[in-house]
């Protein structure tokens, strides 16, 4: 039982990071109908930015907020300048451009921060060996509790934004029917740029949380998280924000269980594959994810 809760707690915390990035993917997809392949790399760059601000002596919390602002600007800027221009001409072009961004941002990070000694991003939460709480016999580190709390808080705020604000209404309207949204006077350009911006800001936070757990920053920081996040968005349904969150948490928990209970066959190195295979099977039964609507066919 103790093991059960241990895997559950670890899985929830890690899963909340996947969920955060997955939510970014979903927000972008709902807005402009694209898979942003560079989502993880944008998050990675922003994490370095957070580290840089912090390294210059700015308090970590402020650095994180600044990093999220940079993430917003990056996402919105990319949409408004590059994505929109290419999307007018060819949809396949958008995919290439997001891959180009993926490559370019990765390279940029390596160029700027590549040869420094492994960066240590200070954790946002107390992370001494005895900073933990025992719940049902399982160890829950404060850092993991903190990550889960921050991620859930941000996701909660986002859902409030979606559901309760006029801007959120505009975002949903644009996602549902962009043409009529324009006719209703919604500045669709600003809304679309903002959805990319919001995704960028969430990426910055997920990167920072993940960086705190990993401890070391490098250009490959977010790659696996991006795979997990894509898996979560796929499993949840690419146009369903709630689905992304549920699926992100489920994948986090599921992989811990798989790795923990089958150390011989699956273990740490095969847990991602096992998770992917499971999703594969789910998709065969529900081809547009658990909570996605079936009309989604664009790439």
């Amino acid at each position: 039982m103790e093991r059960f809760f241990q895997y559950l707690f670890d899985g929830l915390s890690l899963g909340s990071i996947y969920a955060l990035l997955a939510l970014g993917l979903v927000v972008v997809f709902r807005g402009t109908g694209h898979l942003n392949f560079a989502q993880g790399e944008m998050a990675m760059i922003c994490t370095f930015v957070v580290w840089q601000f912090n390294d210059w002596g700015i308090p970590l919390v402020v650095s994180i907020i600044l990093g999220m602002i940079v993430g917003f600007a990056l996402g919105a800027g990319v949409e408004a300048t590059i994505i929109r221009g290419v999307a007018k001409k060819s949809q396949a072009g958008v995919f290439v451009v997001s891959i180009a961004l993926f490559l370019g941002l990765n390279s940029l990070a390596a160029m700027v921060w590549g040869n420094l000694p492994p960066e240590q991003l200070p954790g946002l939460f107390p992370d001494e060996p005895d900073d933990f709480q025992r719940i049902f016999g399982a160890v829950w580190r404060y850092e993991y509790i903190g990550v889960l709390a921050v991620a859930l808080l941000l996701m909660g705020l986002l859902f409030l934004l979606f559901a309760k604000t006029k801007f959120g209404l505009a975002m949903r309207a644009v996602a549902s029917n962009p043409e009529s949204a324009r006719l209703a006077g919604i500045p669709t350009g600003i809304v679309l740029a903002s959805s990319w911006g919001i995704a960028g800001a969430m990426g910055a936070l997920s990167g920072t949380l993940w960086g705190g757990i990993v401890g070391e920053l490098n250009a490959g920081l977010m790659f696996t998280v991006f795979i997990y996040a894509s898996a979560a968005a796929t499993l949840g349904g690419f146009d369903s924000p709630g689905g992304a969150v549920v699926a992100g948490l489920a994948i986090g928990v599921g992989e811990q269980f798989l790795a923990g209970y089958f150390p011989g066959w699956i273990g740490q190195e095969m847990k991602l594959s096992a998770a992917l295979l499971t999703i594969f099977v789910v998709l065969l039964i529900k081809p547009s994810g658990l909570f996605g609507s079936t009309k989604v066919e664009r790439v």
Binding site: V86, A92, V96, F102, L108, A231, F238, W265
Partner: protein, 361 residues
């Protein structure tokens, strides 16, 4: 503007001229260039083959795949295992690799029967992620030798082909791999061309343009999709074998065995021109050229690029590649071949034969 009729003497002259120039370049490269340059051209061949195979599935059938690196890896590993564990002669592994990959491709196609669009993209992405982890898996280490990979699987002695003369040592092997690569490029091109111009090819395009309509018109979606995935995987495996024989090793982190491989194939295909027969060929050439010219920028600190990038901790090659890709997508959203077609139409117009007058075949 210059108008010529399809099938007229002039039209054939132009075609012949094109073939002559190509043939000249093709002979010039292995006889006049250094072996490392020849090797780069062979790299371009490898990319062309992989991108052509992807083009069948994505460009012509509209089924997105980010999983072709797995087929590439299946080919490479099949060859390596046969050579290393079973003492096969390299040349025969091509056939087996193609067959194995064909089967794998058909299996991967099964989800494509139900899953579409972005979900299919992510499923194939999962295939690309799965393959290297499977290869590395300790339960399979007896076969794949885990993360060490399999080495010394190149041609020990280059087979003697009278037409090429005697090829010896490193240089000889480079020249031989060039010719081998060229042959596979041509074979792949002919297979793709044959498919695209056939009834089967029209079924593919019908699926791409409107799946429901295609089904109504009597296209069997299941067989068509499964077959095209199988053929595409088999062709991609050829590229994998070629690459393994060229470098002599294959590892789970190998150049095109990981997800990155799928991404490169995709870039090559789209930059060249998706859904065109020549697109992947042009794309492969451009990609290798771009890669080789940008790779060294910033490492030797001279000239304007040195001043620009001297501060960087790493070469800006990939960044520049990214920028160039963005520019290409703005300038040529349908790829370079698409752009070339549009531009050349301003100079020469080929008037097609009136329908129904083609020679019966």
């Amino acid at each position: 503007m210059w108008k010529i009729h399809e099938g007229s003497a002039r039209h054939w002259m132009i075609r012949l001229l094109g073939v002559a120039v190509l043939a000249f370049v093709v002979v010039w490269i292995p006889t006049q260039m250094s072996s490392s340059r020849i090797g780069q051209v062979t790299d371009a061949f490898i990319l062309m083959i992989a991108a052509m195979s992807l083009n069948l599935v994505l460009g012509f059938t509209g089924q997105i795949s980010i999983g072709h690196s797995a087929f590439f890896g299946v080919g490479g590993y099949t060859a390596a295992i046969l050579i290393k564990d079973h003492g096969w002669s390299p040349g025969y592994t091509f056939y087996v690799a193609a067959v194995v990959a064909f089967v794998v491709g058909c299996v991967v196609a099964l989800p494509a029967l139900r899953i579409r669009g972005i979900y299919l993209a992510l499923v194939t992405l999962a295939v690309a992620v799965l393959f290297p982890t499977l290869v590395r898996w300790k339960k399979l280490a007896w076969l794949t030798e885990g993360s060490m990979g399999i080495d010394s699987v190149r041609y020990e002695d280059v087979p003697v082909w009278p037409i090429l003369g005697e090829l010896k040592g490193r240089e000889g092997r480079a020249v031989f791999m060039f010719w081998l690569g060229l042959i596979i490029v041509i074979v792949t091109y002919l297979v793709c061309r044959g498919i695209v111009k056939s009834r089967f090819g029209r079924a593919l395009v019908a699926i791409r343009d409107n799946e429901t309509a295609a089904a109504v018109m009597g296209v069997n979606l299941t067989t068509t999709k499964v077959l095209v995935f199988g053929v595409s995987a088999a062709l991609c495996a050829l590229a994998g074998v070629l690459s393994t024989l060229k470098s002599g090793v294959i590892t789970p982190d190998g150049q095109y065995v990981t997800l990155l491989g799928s991404i490169v194939f995709l870039l090559v295909m789209i930059v060249g021109g998706a859904g065109t027969l020549w697109g992947p060929i042009v794309g492969g050439l451009v990609y290798v050229l771009l890669d080789n010219t940008t790779r060294d920028i910033g490492t030797n600190d001279s000239g304007i690029l040195g001043t620009l990038f001297g501060w960087a901790d790493q070469s800006p090659a990939t960044l520049i590649l990214g920028l160039v890709l963005v520019i290409i997508m703005f300038a040529a959203p349908y790829g370079l071949v698409g752009l070339a077609k549009r531009l050349s139409r301003k100079v020469v117009v080929v008037i097609p034969r009136p329908a129904g007058t083609a020679k019966p075949s």
